[in-house]
Symmetry: D2
Subunit: 104 residues, 4 copies
Amino acid sequence: MPGEFSQENTGNGKVKHRDTKEKRDLITRLSRIEGQIRGLQAMVEQDRYCVDIVTQVSAVQAALNSFNKMLLSRHIKTCVVEDIRQGEEEAIDELCALLQKLMK
Amino acid sequence: MPGEFSQENTGNGKVKHRDTKEKRDLITRLSRIEGQIRGLQAMVEQDRYCVDIVTQVSAVQAALNSFNKMLLSRHIKTCVVEDIRQGEEEAIDELCALLQKLMK
Amino acid sequence: MPGEFSQENTGNGKVKHRDTKEKRDLITRLSRIEGQIRGLQAMVEQDRYCVDIVTQVSAVQAALNSFNKMLLSRHIKTCVVEDIRQGEEEAIDELCALLQKLMK
Amino acid sequence: MPGEFSQENTGNGKVKHRDTKEKRDLITRLSRIEGQIRGLQAMVEQDRYCVDIVTQVSAVQAALNSFNKMLLSRHIKTCVVEDIRQGEEEAIDELCALLQKLMK
C-alpha cells in the first residue's frame, strides 16, 4: 500500500518514552500537516494554478522542517545527553550520521 | 480547523487545466505522502525512537520536493512558455519571484 | 591543481554578454565572498571555536545563494525569454534540468 | 573592506585546539574553495553562459556544505562530549541553537 513504511527502516527496536504533553504536541502538528496535504489534493482536483500549489507545498515543507527541528532538539537534550553520561558513545556516532543526512 | 488553507493565499483566481493522466499522477503522489504522514503519527503513538522518526520525515520531505519539481517543470513548459509567446511578461516575473522563495 | 574547474563542465561554448554594470556587480559580490573564504582560513589558523566557523560558513552559503538567485533571474528574463520568442525550446529544457539540480 | 568579518560575530573568545593534520585538512579544503571562487570570477569576466556559472556555484556550495559537516561532526565528538562529561549543559543548548539555524 502506498505510504506505508517498510519495516527495515524502523526495526532497530529502540523506543523513546515521551510525556503526554510532548506526544500530544507532536501529534497535533502532524494532524495539521495531514490536513495541509489533503488541502493540496483538493487544489489539484479544482485545477488550481501551479504557482499557488507550489507555494503551498513550500508551506508544508516548512512545517515538516519545524517538526523535525523540535524532535531533534529534544532528542539531543534527552537521549544523547543521557547516553554520553552513561559512557555510551554510540549515540554520538548516530547523531553525526543523522546530521550528515539532514545537511545533504 | 488545523490544516485548512487561508483564502488569501490562493485567491488569485487563476486555473490550470491538467489532463486526466497528469491529475491522477499528482493525486497519487499526494495520497502516498498523506499515508506517510499517518505513518509518522503512528510512530509517535508507539513511542518510536527519535532518529527513526526524523529519518522518515526526511523521506516525506524528499517526496514533497519531488512533487514540487514535477509541478514546476510542467508549469514552465506549459503556462510560462504560452504566456511568453502571447507577449505576457507577467509569467516571467511570477516565476522569478517563486524561484527566489524556493531557493531561500 | 585544486580549485580549477575541469573543462568538460564548461565547454558548451555558449557565451552571454552582460553589460558593464551587471558584470561589475557580479564580480564585486564574488570578491566579497573570496574575502570571506580567506577570513575562514584565518579563523582556522587562529584556532577559533567550531561554532563560530560553522556560523560564518552559513553566511558564505547565503551570499552564494543570493548570487545564484540574481544570476538565475537575469538568465530567465533575458536568455530564456529570447529563446522562446525565437522558437527555440532548448532553453526551456535546460532551465528545467537546472532547477531539478538546484532543488535537490 | 569587503569580505572581512565584523568582530562582534566572532568575539566569544572561545578557542579550539585542533591537531596539525586536522588543521591542514581544513585549510586545504578552504584553499580549494577559494580557487573555485576565483574560477567563478574568471567565468564572469569571460562572458560565460549563465547556466554554466550557476552550476559551478552549486559545486562550491556542495564543497562548503561538506566542510561544514566535517567541522560539525568533529565539534560534537570532541567539544560537546567533553562539556557534557564535565557537567556543562551550555554546549548542548549551543548545539541545538546552531542546528536550528543550519536546518532553516
